[in-house]
């Protein structure tokens, strides 16, 4: 019935703008074909799999400013109306370190000194970079609803932006950790520069996991409730509140390798607490985890991302 209607009315009327065809023939389709901009697009059914990577990466790179700007804007909006404003970026991690220090001292009977506080601060801040990236990343797609439903762009920019956001929050904590180390009297040497590759590995791990959970949360919304607890357990299985040696003594040494963040924190402890280069095996273990998780997380995300809008 409805179809009859179409038949009756669908004869193509003579078009007044016949000159259109002459203009259309200059710009060959296919030459400049990519998914997001450019002049020619073809949209076809989604299949799990990777899009053509060259145009994808090009579009990703073109919009790098978007990821940076989004993280910056979110950071500014977060503490916009609090009395202390951006000072919270410094106060929150300090309070967190203090709470854990108190906890450990109370539970273990005050046997821990200022050295341990310095270790705790550095390790917690670095772990915080990881956990904040993951937590923010998990919500980046589900929480980015309107942007995703109304603009076509590589969705992976959203979890990337979450990692940038966490990194921006991490930066002001570096001087705090440094000051605490100086006050406590931990000697400073060249080995401290090795912190840079350690942070880089942390970012690799954080990006991989953030992309993974960002896509996963679209399918399982419970993840947002589960994730804080997972991250807390993750924190406890990382040698932050205790040392790697203590873990080995108690037969928990296997976690030092199963947990991607453990080698990172161990390397950090070596450079920051003891002024020596990290054990090569430990650091390379962390690097391997980092590269592996980054590649897997990013590929998982990209292979799913064109379908995400349908499920929001």
């Amino acid at each position: 019935m409805a179809e009859q209607m179409v038949q009756r009315t669908d004869e193509e009327l003579p078009q007044p703008a016949e000159d259109a065809s002459s203009q259309a023939s200059n710009g060959k389709p296919g030459l400049d074909s990519d998914d997001y901009t450019g002049n020619y697009h073809v949209y076809e059914p989604f299949q799990v799999g990777l899009p053509p990577m060259r145009p994808y990466l090009r579009e990703l790179w073109r919009r790098r400013q978007f990821a940076l700007q989004l993280s910056k804007t979110k950071l500014r909006a977060k503490h916009f109306d609090t009395a202390l404003g951006q000072l919270w970026l410094v106060i929150t991690p300090l309070l967190m370190a203090f709470v854990y220090f108190l906890l450990i001292t109370v539970i273990r009977g005050g046997s821990r000194g200022a050295d341990f506080f310095a270790h705790l601060v550095a390790a917690l801040f670095l772990f915080h970079l990881f956990s904040q990236s993951v937590q923010q990343g998990a919500n980046s797609i589900v929480g980015g609803g309107k942007l995703i439903l109304n603009t076509a762009f590589p969705r992976i920019l959203l979890p990337f932006s979450s990692v940038v956001w966490a990194f921006r929050r991490f930066l002001p904590t570096i001087p705090i950790a440094a000051v605490i180390h100086l006050i406590v009297g931990v000697p400073v040497g060249w080995a401290i520069l090795f912190v840079i590759p350690i942070v880089a590995v942390t970012l690799l791990i954080a990006t991989g996991v953030a992309c993974f959970v960002a896509a996963l949360q679209v399918y399982f919304r419970d993840l947002s409730n589960l994730l804080p607890h997972v991250l807390r357990i993750w924190l406890y299985t990382t040698p932050i509140l205790y040392t790697a040696d203590q873990a080995t003594e108690r037969g928990l040494g296997v976690f030092l390798w199963l947990n991607p963040m453990a080698p990172v924190i161990r390397s950090l402890a070596a450079t920051v607490d003891h002024q020596e280069l990290p054990n090569a095996t430990v650091f390379l273990g962390g690097l391997a985890w980092g590269i592996g998780l980054f590649v897997l997380g990013v590929l998982f995300f990209i292979s799913r991302e064109r379908e995400l809008a349908v499920r929001l």
Binding site: V6, Y43, R221, D222
Partner: protein, 268 residues
């Protein structure tokens, strides 16, 4: 349906948009929100409850370059889904969409606006997400603000905006992106009469520049005045494609006759 009558056309024949047998199916679980708990429970019972919502069924149409094409239909007809499919936001479940030209969208929800952020931040983020550089965005920014007439409000969070201001800003962003193809979803209903007139003129101007506009609206007057041709969608299916006056005539009659949303040929 004139089977495959539209197949074989491509954007090379002077068309900006060619939509070929496109269906879009949303997959939603019955619970509304997909959760791990329910998935595990379902796996335990070895069942899969995925409700499929066919938002578009085998839709065909094409739009010549420089034309304004209207889409009308009741709520839930699939109009917004069609817009999203044409702009590449939703992949079609079946069929193929070919689009030639730079697309700028103005969809009913606004341009991904986050209400906690200021108007300025939203405009800049929207532009960057659409692929403009910071410099290009800076160039366009003043034009956008001027067109929207929101000079005094750009540094206020968008939750303080009225719906009219919201719509004006969204429209200004979309038309100032200098698109080859402008996709507009029900945005003309916001704004006062003067702004409506202004946006009319802007769209006319875009058409004169040989730009293509795909317009979704409930305002029949707008369709008659602006559109060359129009399509009437009902529950995901094309009921009619014709000159806009004809479509509006039939659609209006359908709306008057038909209160309970049931559609039969006799009533047309």
């Amino acid at each position: 349906m004139p089977s495959g009558s539209e197949n074989g056309y491509s954007v090379d024949d002077g068309y900006s948009i060619v939509v070929d047998d496109v269906s879009v199916t949303y997959r939603t679980s019955v619970e509304g929100r997909p959760t791990l708990q329910n998935t595990i429970r379902r796996l335990g019972r070895r069942e899969r409850i995925v409700r499929e919502v066919e938002a578009l069924k085998k839709v065909n149409f094409r739009i010549k370059r420089g034309h304004v094409y209207g889409v009308v239909g009741a709520n839930g007809a699939g109009k917004s889904t069609l817009m999203r499919a044409v702009t590449g936001i939703l992949p079609p479940t079946e069929g193929r969409i070919e689009v030639k030209g730079r697309v700028s969208t103005l969809l009913s929800l606004g341009i991904g606006f986050n209400k906690e952020l200021t108007g300025r931040e939203n405009v800049v983020l929207g532009g960057l997400a659409a692929g403009l550089t910071r410099e290009e965005m800076a160039d366009k920014y003043d034009e956008i603000v001027e067109f929207a007439e929101l000079e005094d409000f750009m540094d206020m969070p968008m939750r303080t905006y009225s719906s009219g201001m919201y719509g004006r800003l969204a429209f200004a962003v979309a038309v100032c992106m200098d698109p080859d193809i402008l996709v507009i979803d029900e945005a003309l209903s916001v704004g006062d009469a003067r702004f409506k007139k202004k946006s009319f003129e802007r769209m006319k101007q875009l058409c004169d520049d040989d730009r293509t506009i795909l317009l979704v609206t409930h305002a029949m007057g707008t369709v008659k005045k602006l559109c060359d041709r129009a399509m009437w969608l009902h529950k995901g299916e094309v009921v009619m494609k014709d000159r806009s006056k004809e479509v509006v005539k039939h659609y209006t009659r359908f709306l008057e006759v038909n209160e309970d949303d049931e559609l039969t040929a006799e009533e047309l």
